[in-house]
Amino acid sequence: MTDSLLQSNTPAGSIADKWDNYKADMKLVNPNNKRKFKVLVVGSGLAGASAAASLAELGYDVEVFTFHDSPRRAHSIAAQGGINAAKNYRGDGDSVHRLFYDTIKGGDFRAREGNVHRLAQVSVNIIDQMVAQGVPFAREYGGLLDTRSFGGSQLQRTFYARGQTGQQLLLGAYQQMARQIGLGTVKLWNRVELVDTVTVDGRCAGIVTRDLVTGEVRSHAGHATVLCTGGYGNAFFLSTNAMNCNVTAAWRAHRKGAYFANPCYTQIHPTCIPQADDTQSKLTLMSGSLRNDGRVWVPLNAGDNRAADEIPEAERDYYLERLYPSFGNLAPRDISSRAAKRAVDSGRGVGPLKNGVYLDFSAAISRLGKDVVKERYGNLFDMYERITGENPYDIPMRIYPASHYTMGGLWVDYELMTTIPGLYAAGEANFSDHGANRLGASALMQGLADGYFVLPYTIGNYLAPMLNKPVPGTDHEAFKTAENEARGRFQTFLDIKGTRSPDHFHRELGKIIWDRCGMERTAEGLQQALTDIPALYDEFKTDLRVTGTGSSVNQTLEKAGRVDDFFQLGMLMCRDALERNESCGGHFRAEYQDEEGEAQRDDDNFAHVAAWEFTGDPMKSNRHKEELEFETIHLAKRSYK
C-alpha cells in the first residue's frame, strides 16, 4: 500500500486530460503579488535556468545558485545527441501517446503514468520555445527542422544541433535567464555551493551555502526552493558526468526529510571510450546517436588478437543485430550495455586492455560516403581521435559501457514537490519520469519540461495561499543552527589530518559501487558492498587528509564534502538494489533473469517506487512505497527482439 506521505496527487480525469484539469483547478497568484514571493533556484542547468527564467518573467523574485563560475557551464552543456519531442514533423506516426508509451515501456513500467504523459504533452512546446530562443537546430535543405532516430524508438523524433545539442539548449535557456539577470529580476550567486537545506515547522524555509572563493557560510530564505542540481552518476567515480557533478544538494535535503526514491536505478551508457589507464579521471561518452550508423561487433572467437580489418566478416559477431533483430544496434541502453559486458566477459573484448567492443563505421562510410559521415559525426570523431590517438574513419571505434545518468533521485509528486512542503526537485535531481531506465534524448526534454512548463504553474499553486503571511527569515535559529553545523562539518574535514586524499577515497568507493551495484548485481555482492562501504567510510572519517584552509579556494575541501555524501548515498544505493528482488531496466539482478538472460520483472511485488526516509544512518533508512497505478498502459514484458 502507498505510504501516506507518498501521495502522488495526480489529478483526476483521463490520462490526456489530467494536466489540463490540473491547470484549470490550480490556484493563481496575481501578477502584482508575484514579486512578493522569493523563489530560490539551486542549479543553472536546463532545469534550473529554464525555471529561473520563466519564474522571473512571470514576476517572482528569483535567486539562482550554482557552484560553477558561470551558469552556462552546468553539466547539461555536455549532452551530445539530441532532444525528443512528439512533433511528428516527419509524419512517421508519432504522437503524444506514442512518446508517452515509449517512455513508460523504456522505463520498464516503473514510472508514474500521469507525469510521463504530461512530459510527452509539453515536449512539443519545448521545441517551439527553444527555436524562439535562437537554438540553431539542424535543418533540412528546405529550411525545416531535421530529426533523427535514437535508441529505444522506431521513430525519428529526436531534434539535434550537430553533436552539441545540450550546449545549444543550455545556451538558449541561459541566455533567457541572463536577460532576467540584466533586468535585475534574477539575482545570480555563482561559485557557491548549497551545503544544507533548512526547514521550519516542516516547511522548507531556505538554504545554507558555502562560498567556494572565500569559504563564507551564509543563509538564504525563500518562500519556495527548487533543487535542479543534476544526477549522482559520479558515485561510481568513473562516469561520463562532469568532474564536479555530485549528490550533495539532494543528499542534504534528504537528510532534512526529503525522501530519496529508487537510488539503485542508474544508467550505464553503452557507448563510452574504454578506460585507458589508472590515472583516468573520467570517461567520455561517444553519443548514442552514433549507433544510427555504426555497427557493434566483437570477434566470434575468444582470444582473437587480430586487428579489426584482418578479421573476416564470417568471424565477426554483430551481437546486437543477432540478438535484437528489430532494433539491432539501436536496442535500448540497459540492454546494449549488458550485451557488451557479456561479450567482454566472454573473452572477446577488443583493444589493448581487451575492455571494449567495436563500433564500426566502415559500412556507413561505403554506403553514404565519408563526407556525409563527417557531416553527421565529425566533431565526435575528432574528439575520439584526440583522446585515443586513433582515427575512427580508418579503425573502428572501441567502446564500453560507463555510468552516465541516474533515474533515481528525490521523490516528488505530480507538482514536483518533495516530501518537504515548499521544496521542489526538477531535472535529473528528481526521480520522476524515466522509471528504471531512461531513453536517449529524454533527459534534456524532461529538464526543460520541468523548468519551462511545469514548475511555473505548480509553484504558484503552493504560494497562492501564503500571500502576505510572514515566513521565517535568515535570523531564525534554524538557519543559525544549520550554518554552525555546516561550518563545523567542513572544519572537521580539515582537522582529521590523516593520510589519504578525498580523491583516493572516491576512487575506492567508486570501484566498490561499480563492481557490486553496477551493470549486474547479486544479493551476495550487494551484501558484501554493505560491509565494505561502511568500513571504508570509517577510514574516511579517521584517515582523510585535506590540506589548505577553509577560508580561500580549496578544491580538496569541496571534494571532501562531496565524497562524504557519496559514501552515504552509496550505502543507500546498495540497500535499495538489495531490497528490489527483481530485475527491471538499469537494475539487473543476476538472480532474476529468464532463459535468454533478459531482465525478469516481478510486477506483483515490485510495481512500486521505493522511497527512503533518512533516520540518521543510511544503513538504517526506512523504505516506503508508492504503488504505481497503470490505468492506461497494460504492463507487458519489455521486448526489443
Binding site: 540553431p136 541566455q175 572563493v213 568532474m243 567520455t284 519551462y452 579556494v553
Partner: protein
C-alpha cells in the same frame, strides 16, 4: 599499450589569492601515461602534493570533454596549449616528451582577476551576454517551430558561431585583452538567425558597449582565432563591426524621427 613519459618538469604559477603577488614553483612528475590528459597530469601532481602535506594547485575544470569552457590554462605561453582547436582538457600527454619542461600559468588579462593559482574570474563575459546576448521570447508564447524555415546554410553559419564555449582563451591570447572574438561569436549567432532580427541593432550596440567597458580594444592581431579551441572564425568580428556601424546609423535615424 600506453607508454609512459618520465621526468616532467613543471613550472606552475602559485598565487594565494587576488591580493597576493604570486610566483612560479617547480615540481617534478616522475612518470605519467601518454594516454593521460593534461589535467590528469595536474591531478597526479595534486595527489603528490597532498601526500606531502602541501596545498593542492587550484585550477578550473569540469566536463573534461572540451565543451563546458571551464578549463583555462596557459601552457608554454599558449592559451590551451600547443594543439590547435583543442581545449586544455582535451590535450593529451602524447603531445609531450620525457624530460620536457612545461610552464603553466593562468589566463592573464586585466578583466580576469586571479582568484587563486590557475583560477581566474571570467564573469565579465557573462555581463556581455546579460546586456543583449539573447532573444526576447518569454516562455509560453512561441509559435510552431517550423513556421519560419531557415535555410540550412544560415542555420549552419549561426551554429558555427554558437559553438563558442565561453572559455576566454581569445581574451587571454590577445595582447590587448580584448573579448572581440567571444562577443562576435555571440552577436553573430543571434544576428544571423531570422528570430534574432527584431533585436539585431540594439543587441549589437549593447553587447559591444558592455564589452568595451570591461575589455581592451581589438587591433586585429588574430591571436584569438589561433587560440580558440572551437576555431571560431575572425570573419565574425568583421560581421559584428559591420552590424555595430549600421546600428549606430540606424539608431540615430530612429532618434531623429521622434
Amino acid at each position: 599499450m600506453s607508454n609512459h613519459l618520465q621526468n616532467l618538469n613543471l613550472k606552475i604559477w602559485r598565487q594565494d589569492g587576488p591580493a597576493d603577488g604570486g610566483r612560479f614553483e617547480s615540481y617534478l612528475v616522475g612518470s605519467i601515461s601518454d594516454e593521460a590528459s593534461f589535467l590528469e597530469l595536474l591531478d597526479v601532481l595534486n595527489e603528490q602534493l597532498i601526500g606531502e602535506g602541501e596545498d593542492a594547485i587550484a585550477f578550473d575544470h569540469d566536463c573534461r570533454e572540451g565543451i563546458c569552457g571551464t578549463c583555462s590554462l596557459m601552457i608554454d605561453g599558449q592559451a590551451h596549449g600547443p594543439q590547435r582547436g583543442t581545449a586544455t582538457c582535451q590535450l593529451h600527454m602524447r603531445k609531450f616528451a620525457s624530460g620536457d619542461t612545461i610552464v603553466v600559468e593562468p589566463w592573464r588579462a586585466t578583466a580576469f582577476p586571479i582568484l587563486k593559482d590557475l583560477m581566474v574570474d571570467r564573469s565579465p563575459l557573462d555581463r556581455i551576454v546579460e546586456a543583449g546576448g539573447f532573444i526576447t521570447a518569454a516562455t509560453g508564447g512561441a509559435p510552431d517551430a517550423n513556421i519560419i524555415p531557415i535555410p540550412k546554410p544560415v542555420a549552419d553559419a549561426a551554429m558555427d558561431a554558437a559553438e563558442c564555449i565561453g572559455c576566454g582563451a581569445c581574451v587571454a591570447a590577445c595582447p590587448n585583452g580584448a573579448a572581440n572574438l567571444f562577443t562576435a561569436a555571440k552577436v553573430s549567432h543571434l544576428n544571423l538567425l531570422p528570430q534574432g532580427q527584431a533585436e539585431r541593432w540594439s543587441r549589437v550596440e549593447a553587447m559591444v558597449e558592455t564589452m568595451d567597458e570591461h575589455f581592451g580594444s581589438c587591433t586585429n592581431h588574430g591571436e584569438c582565432e589561433a587560440a580558440c579551441p572551437k576555431s571560431i572564425s575572425l570573419d565574425f568580428i568583421a560581421l559584428m563591426h559591420k552590424d555595430y556601424r549600421r546600428a549606430k546609423v540606424k539608431n540615430r535615424k530612429l532618434i531623429s524621427q521622434i
